[in-house]
Symmetry: C2
Subunit: 87 residues, 2 copies
């Protein structure tokens, strides 16, 4: 298989993986078992990846990580919003 296709599919998978988690947390109205620290580390990591992409002027790196950065922010807000439902 072509290298670039593998890289693109890999990037799409890792950057969209948070969608099912966000959907689940939204439906369940709770996210108590989800780690805040994981998302803060991901926020820093995806932010740095996006910055790295900007320095390299590599659009796939910028777009996938900017998207993941927004998903990290969404998950942090969902967890914060549903904190009242945690036991």
């Amino acid at each position: 298989m072509d290298k670039q296709i593998i890289g693109i599919v890999a990037g799409i998978l890792t950057s969209t993986s948070l969608i099912p988690q966000a959907v689940k947390s939204w439906k369940d109205k709770k996210a108590s078992d989800v780690s805040y620290l994981m998302f803060f580390i991901l926020l820093a990591g995806n932010g740095l990846w996006a910055w790295y992409g900007i320095l390299l002027q590599d659009w796939p790196i910028i777009i996938t990580n900017a998207f993941a950065f927004l998903m990290d922010l969404l998950m942090i807000s969902l967890k914060w919003k549903f904190a009242k439902n945690e036991k």
Copy 2:
């Protein structure tokens, strides 16, 4: 800051982000709010990234994604193991 340092720090952050999630799930003995689908997508994504790294013979890509792949497997097994504690 040097590009390579940004990339390396970004890679370390995104690949180690699952450690606090695994520690939390292990301590709580439950992971019901965590999405199985997220970890299966990550497993496929990190696996493809590692393969991409092998094709490019790029060790940082291989090591960070092989590590993340193992963490995905660990989270899937923790969620499966603690399923009996889910309501």
